[in-house]
């Protein structure tokens, strides 16, 4: 059974077709990557999957349940969480607080529990804080728990954004260019990190330009260009695919 499946989805902005009749699926526990040149529509696809944009056509299913047309916040409760191409942490809040905001939808007490400090407030709040601390420790961020998010290094901020997404309880994580701006060592760490996420039972949809990461970590790859799928397959198949090389490097012949 597919965890996430998109059938013939299309989206245009005025005359520009950003995503054109795109089909793909992800099975549970897989790492699937979407690659393509800049402007190919990858981030638009993420925005569609997470409910920021609504498709003009097509259907999207999560666990066989249609999710297209749902509000972004509802999609999170269906188990999809994401990170952003340009990091969007709550920079004026502490690391643990970022995670706790991520856990908000599973933090089950009311306004009045908070106002009057009921027993329930303490129980739930303490549990969530402990879980958040555990999560941070499992990602190697335990030493930064009390720090403010904007004091973290770039790589740590990327990790925190992923931690925050995990805290929502989502099992499918959409990572938008996590290796952007990372050096060789950092992107190698990221590759290991993503493999670990997979071992923890997470399913991952990845947008990435760093081919070292993509080719080493992906179970399956979709290649996009001009909003269309131009190739799909396992990493070694994509590496030898001519259409892909053409999209990235241009045609070998000169057309006049």
């Amino acid at each position: 059974m597919n965890l996430l499946r998109a059938e013939n989805i299309s989206l245009s902005f005025g005359g520009l077709t950003a995503v054109n009749d795109f089909n793909f699926y992800i099975n549970e526990g897989q790492v699937v990557s979407i690659i393509g040149p800049n402007g190919a529509g990858k981030t638009t696809l993420f925005n569609i999957l997470t409910g920021i944009y609504k498709v003009n056509q097509g259907k999207i299913y999560m666990n066989e349940e249609p999710i297209d047309g749902l509000h972004a916040r509802k999609i999170v409760s269906k188990g999809i969480a994401r990170t952003f191409q340009n990091i969007r942490l709550f920079s004026d809040m502490r690391v643990i607080e970022n995670v706790l905001v991520g856990a908000h939808i599973n933090t089950d007490y009311s306004f009045f529990d908070g106002l009057f400090r009921t027993k329930r407030f303490y129980e739930v709040e303490n549990k969530k804080k402990q879980e958040g601390a555990k999560l941070l420790e499992s990602l190697g961020l335990e030493g930064r728990l009390s720090d403010y998010a904007d004091n973290l290094s770039y790589g740590e901020q990327r990790k925190l954004e992923i931690a925050r997404a995990m805290a929502t309880g989502a099992k499918l994580l959409l990572l938008d260019e996590p290796a952007a701006g990372m050096n060789h060592q950092e992107s190698e760490d990221l590759r290991v990190f993503i493999s670990n996420l997979k071992n923890l039972g997470y399913t991952i949809l990845l947008i990435e330009h760093d081919m070292r990461v993509v080719m080493n970590v992906s179970d399956y790859i979709y290649v996009m260009d001009y909003g269309k799928k131009i190739a799909e397959g396992r990493p070694h198949e994509i590496q030898s695919n001519e259409a892909v090389a053409m999209a990235y490097l241009g045609d070998s012949e000169v057309h006049l």
């Binding site: 999170v76 306004f111 555990k134």
Partner: protein
């Protein structure tokens, strides 16, 4: 860490003691009235802080909520001879309801657009006050608003009852703000200020929280208004002009947005300053403006607007042993 913690506790305890014992120091009624005004403005700053400091929504219309609380309380005390506590509750709820009414259509607005709408709201409130003669007595204002009477005791300046009532309300609002801010509600409001889209992507219904912030902020402001009405025993539309909204905003920014301690300092400074600077005559407003400019240049986060450097408390300080378990998996 624990050292700083005890220093904080000592500071807070001595401030509370000082406030409780203040009437014993034998200040004149004039001074006590100013102290009570400080308390009212601290409550106002705490109310506006929920919107501006935590949620990042700048309102220029809080004089409107202040007026609704004041007129609501005064109206029910005078026209319906309702007791102070009930009237104050009605005034507070009325103001909170107007916060909801204003918050609902403005959730899509932010930044300057929201500020303009709230500014318009306060103007509308003022015009309604001037023209709704049967309720507000028009431009003549409402006079002879009774002093609070609780359980048969008249609370006034002479017996310090009204001072302690102010302390009680201030303590109540401070505690309420503290518990709300240090819960998932407060975290969400701060997250909204930081990044609305990212907050939505955490599955959070941000519109609901923005309206909640409006309602809370308006209720607290209305509470201060109701108390102010009984303190001054006379209110008219001039008490609730644009300059009041700006004054509260200045207190929030000067003290330190998004902090509770800052509201106390901001209100104290901006109420005391015009009083102690009387010898400067009309120059005091020049100095006043100059001080604000200097402050904003050198300390834009406000006088007390620092980030806590204290360790974030994790209950039970998660035992290290669980780490072993996870490695074994």
């Amino acid at each position: 860490m624990s050292e700083k913690f005890t220093v904080d506790k000592i500071v807070i305890a001595s401030i509370i003691l000082l406030l409780l014992g203040l009437p014993l120091l034998g200040f004149s009624q004039y001074v006590m009235r100013i102290v009570i005004l400080m308390g009212i403005y601290t409550i106002l700053a705490l109310g506006l802080n929920i919107l501006v400091g935590y949620t990042g929504l700048v309102s220029l219309g809080h004089a409107g909520f202040f007026a609704i609380g004041a007129y609501g309380t005064a109206y029910f005390m005078i026209q319906h001879s309702v007791g102070f506590i009930v009237a104050l509750t009605i005034g507070t709820l009325l103001s909170g309801f107007m916060g909801f009414v204003l918050g609902l259509p403005t959730i899509r607005l932010s930044g300057t657009y929201l500020s303009i709408v709230t500014l318009g709201f306060a103007m509308i409130v003022q015009v309604v006050i001037m023209n709704w003669d049967s309720v507000t007595n028009g431009t003549l204002g409402m006079s002879q608003i009774p002093k609070p009477n609780i359980l048969g005791y008249d609370l006034n300046l002479a017996n310090h009852g009204i001072y302690y009532l102010m302390l009680f309300l201030l303590g109540l609002v401070t505690l309420g703000c503290y518990t709300i801010i240090h819960s998932k509600i407060g975290r969400t409001l701060r997250a909204i200020k930081s990044d609305e889209l990212a907050t939505t992507m955490m599955g959070i219904h941000i519109d609901r929280y923005k309206i909640l912030a409006f309602v809370l902020s308006a209720s607290i402001t209305g509470l201060a208004g109701g108390f102010y009405a009984t303190l001054s025993s006379y209110i008219d539309h001039n008490s609730f002009g644009f300059d009041l909204s700006i004054l509260i905003l200045c207190m929030v920014i000067l003290g330190g947005m998004g902090t509770i301690r800052g509201m106390y300092l901001g209100a104290a400074l901006l109420i005391i300053f015009p009083e102690i600077a009387r010898p400067l005559m009309s120059w005091r407003f020049v100095v006043y403006g100059f001080v604000l400019i200097i402050m904003m240049h050198f300390r834009p986060q406000g006088v007390l607007g620092w980030r806590s450097r204290r360790k974030y408390p994790i209950p039970g300080e998660v035992k290290k042993s669980y780490r072993m378990v996870e490695v074994e998996e």
